[in-house]
Symmetry: C2
Subunit: 214 residues, 2 copies
């Protein structure tokens, strides 16, 4: 059977198709924003994301600055941790972690009657090395993180990628970041998810890495 079997060819052709179909819409994005938009569409095959991704003016530069210094990325799902390019991250002194499956977190959440995501992000935010957050699943994690920053208990991070997917609280949780002083990238509305969170960070990371193919 005839099908493209070379990985480089597949990725190259994919991004060509995305550019073709984005058409004039490409001009709506700044040069450093476009790789993010294209990566999200590459991951979801959903062009609606071109209208849904919204970011603060300082989001990309703030993240790039942080990536030059090293630190930790808190992810609200293990799928995000798993999807991130750990080889590339480690080159910048970064590691990614998730605490929702932590036993202590689980028992504390049960005791308090709240989501594990809330407890997990409270623990993560206590670590001063955590300065990038990728939230692809739990609106409660995003709400709680914002509370902790607003109250001054937690320092303003370098970037919050807020892309929880879902029907209860997801859209609302993403509305709390625009207008705040926190560098953010969100997907408006219900859509999002772990692969979207991964592709947004990769869209920034690969700019630093000067990797070809997007």
């Amino acid at each position: 059977m005839s099908y493209i079997k070379k990985p480089q060819d597949i990725e190259k052709r994919s991004f060509e198709i995305i550019e073709e179909e984005l058409g004039k819409k490409i001009n709506e994005f700044l040069p450093n924003q476009l790789p993010i938009i294209k990566r999200v569409i590459h991951t979801t095959a959903d062009f609606e994301y071109a209208d849904l991704v919204e970011m603060s003016d300082d989001a990309i530069d703030s993240c790039l600055d942080a990536l030059k210094k090293g630190g930790k990325i808190y992810c609200d799902t293990n799928m995000i941790v798993n999807g991130l390019s750990k080889v590339t991250l480690s080159k910048y002194g970064y590691s990614a972690y998730c605490l929702v499956s932590d036993e202590k977190v689980a028992s504390e959440a049960k005791e308090r009657g709240v989501t594990r995501s809330i407890v997990a992000i409270e623990h993560a935010a206590k670590d001063p090395n955590t300065n990038i957050y990728l939230i692809g699943n739990a609106p409660t994690a995003l709400f709680r993180l914002k509370e902790l920053i607003d109250s001054g208990e937690v320092e303003k991070p370098a970037l919050i990628v807020g892309v929880p997917v879902g029907f209860v609280g997801a859209a609302e949780s993403k509305e709390i970041l625009p207008g705040s002083r926190i560098p953010y990238i969100v997907v408006k509305g219900r859509k999002g998810g772990s692969p979207v969170a991964v592709s947004i960070l990769h869209g920034i990371l690969y700019q630093l890495h000067k990797r070809e193919g997007f």
Copy 2:
């Protein structure tokens, strides 16, 4: 800030919203298909999936039969392995695995100039315990698996979930299963992905598990 913090309430309300918005469309699905459709929409917040998921008549029963016997699930991404409920799977004597990050697979793929997904699925298919496949990323894995089954080198599996996402080969790869003698569940067109593959299997698994909440 006021937001729903109890995980059970969030899931329950999410599925209520999905049912409400599906409306009359719910009647298009059989009782054992509906939990799958609802789980995919829950995972993606994308109602288009109600029109895109297609399955063979024997798909769910074939998978349920297999799940009663134990075996292995090959996943074409580590994100799928990571997203699956390993606790529930282990109750049925099942484990999930992925070989794309295997070093031998990587070097063989480089040597042959093909994707790691092709080499990985060839290795997986040689294991007679592998009888469920979850393909959420690589069209080449799906093409190659179908070739191996058609040629008789590999036995017909209990189920192939074919949901590669993307622009090069993804839609085409999913067209080769309908009309075959293989039990399948696919997402037509470009959409799909690792979380979709996970939610489809969970939509079957939880029927067996009689879990509440959908």
